[in-house]
Symmetry: C2
Subunit: 391 residues, 2 copies
């Protein structure tokens, strides 16, 4: 069989996720990784998890292992609604919360349900690569929106919407991947107002907001324009990513379609893992465990920012994230971070060249994403020192 005639038109567009290829390099022994975007394994509540497995089996019996509703496991939907209402300023019922197979599953359902070929999607520049990979098979065109140190510039969004109908806008408003930047409260309110005025949908992806090390919490844009925002959350960063439990709160008019689409993709998310998540939340484990995760990551963030200030030349500017897992570095115009990456790997230090996070492939050559969740503080200091020597 000829592969070219066998695969679909959409598949010809696809390519290997460059970051996952980089992560294979990172797996080599002795490599210091500032490349991943994955939680530190010591952040997982391993002692809790063993008891939870037993408690789930006692509480739910065989029903935790049976087929379940596509919408999600009922006790988990209830716990998620409670969590969103108590901690994030939501006012939702369990029936408004839907479970997905990780936040990636929600992004895929959004793309599959909404995007026709050549629909226009507004994205930050740079933006989260996994979202692009979820949307790409449905062949949209990307419209890049201008950002600064406080995230998306609302006026840039309005300028686009004045001329162009967007199918939706995709944002990570808090501790964005890859930049670590956060939209201010004023900008959130301004964007919510623009969404309503232009009757436009926002996909608000919020994986990191629980990992806040400084400053006060900011309400999701969803709470400011509930009918115009589809909010996506995940337990991957505060429980365990290997369980693949994410969730979303859509505008009411989209919920049935997203469920129908998910039926064809995976019938439903693992019942057992949803039950584990329900018990994790209902027994208040998140509330007790989250301070431990924050206490683990904050010193790593501090170590990285300090090392960057100590070692990197002033013409390389870096973001100062109040949470999350990433610092973003911009070198002088014309600098080639890809070439630096090749040299750094030979010295056993890995990071992700920033160009992979731009929807238009010629941008971001002078940028890099540095992750601080995996290495310890001394290793972070050493790795940044090595990079500064190679700059």
């Amino acid at each position: 069989m000829q592969i070219q005639s066998l695969i679909a038109d959409r598949t010809h567009r696809m390519s290997v996720n460059a970051i996952r290829e980089i992560l294979k390099v990172v797996a080599q022994p002795g490599m210091i990784s500032l490349a991943g975007g994955i939680p530190a394994p010591e952040s997982f509540p391993m002692d809790i998890i063993h008891n939870l497995s037993r408690e789930v089996i006692e509480t739910y019996g065989s029903s935790a292992f049976q087929y379940g509703p596509t919408e999600g496991f009922t006790p988990l939907r209830k716990q998620l609604a409670d969590h969103l209402n108590k901690k994030k300023g939501f006012q939702v019922q369990p029936e408004q919360v839907f479970v997905s197979s990780g936040s990636q599953g929600a992004l895929d359902a959004v793309g599959k349900t909404l995007i026709s070929k050549n629909d226009k999607i507004g994205v930050e520049s740079p933006t989260y690569l996994g979202a692009i990979q979820a949307f790409d098979p449905y062949e949209p065109d990307y419209i890049t929106l201008d950002t600064d140190g406080d995230g998306l510039i609302p006026e840039s969004l309005e300028t686009v919407l004045r001329k162009t109908r967007l199918k939706f806008i995709y944002l990570v408003p808090t501790f964005q991947n890859p930049t670590g930047r956060t939209l201010t409260r004023e900008r959130r309110e301004h964007i919510a107002e623009i969404l309503v005025r232009y009757d436009t949908l926002l996909i608000e992806d919020d994986p990191y907001s629980d990992l806040r090390y400084d400053g006060g919490p900011l309400k999701p844009i969803k709470t400011m324009a509930p009918d115009h925002v589809l909010y996506i959350g995940t337990l991957s960063k505060v429980f365990a990513p290997g369980l693949r439990v994410g969730f979303y709160v859509p505008p009411a008019l989209l919920k049935d379609w997203l469920v129908i689409i998910k039926q064809g993709v995976d019938l439903h998310t693992s019942t057992f893992n949803q039950a584990l998540a329900a018990e994790y939340l209902s027994r208040n484990h998140l509330e007790h465990h989250l301070p431990h995760i924050i206490a683990l990551y904050k010193p790593k963030r501090d170590a990285m920012l300090k090392a960057l200030a100590n070692y990197f030349p002033a013409k390389f500017t870096c973001s100062r994230p109040q949470g999350g897992m990433f610092v973003w570095v911009e070198g002088p115009r014309g600098y080639n971070m890809e070439a630096l990456y090749q040299r750094a790997v030979k010295e056993n230090v890995a990071f992700v060249p920033g160009k992979y996070f731009f929807a238009d492939s010629q941008n971001g050559m002078e940028t890099m994403r540095l992750n601080f969740s995996m290495a310890d503080e001394a290793t972070i200091d050493h790795a940044i020192c090595v990079l500064s020597r190679l700059l």
Copy 2:
């Protein structure tokens, strides 16, 4: 926002899975369900599962809860390859076996990777509804292939291939859902030969073959034409469906594309559940537990066939499955099983009208699918008696 302008072209084609709607009716108290296609909860190895959770945590520690490779959890791929080689006549390496989020996840990946709009897909008539639901969003045209009591008629396939290029053929060769029918060895060999001669791809979906109550095992078509068959299996029917662990063995030239597509859909299948499945297989639990499942289902199958012979008029013919979960009944031409369904539900007996399993919606009005895995023998006898009274 207007829903009609918001959803994608493909979404306008979609509709609620009628069977899942029927299953909501079935959930009403007092209803006897011959409608589902789900394993009996007492078939789950609950005693084993609790120990497995502990053993997985001891064996794999935090790595069972971390992000993992899209291809699948390495220990599980090894166990699946061993299982296929020992029990199904395969000769595969672990690197040739890929994990999916249930077999539904494999069907979605196949559709997404291969189907361009208006590509032609060959399907049995009737066929498995979940496959249609996985393929529909990619907007193929279905070509129905003729079947009889032994499944697909090879000459019907060749007649189609002589005139028409098919993107692929989709079959459930063993204890098919919905008919319970099984392709004979001679037909498997004939179909394998046709696939090679016409250089055409087969998607061989094999969820039920372990549930054999009579007769000897039949080798998958994959073993007869390995470069022309993508084989899909699942642990949903022999371990627990709520874990959502399926797998597939593709022709070599497709494997990279299927993995790239899955990255965008869900990154990977639950690591914890894959680790549970790996330990379930490596500790020989499947081998010891499967006889219990068969001992549970065989008397139910026998009870249903006996009741049908006792109560149903001779003009209603039924399949005599050697395994699986379903019996298929065909009434006289012009008979309306949908109307029978409406009357039966009022008498607290549910089944699935067969018309839902036909890709062309005007077929199969006189047919029904009866499931025997959920109810006990006496209840099956009573339910068939009630149906016969209403016929």
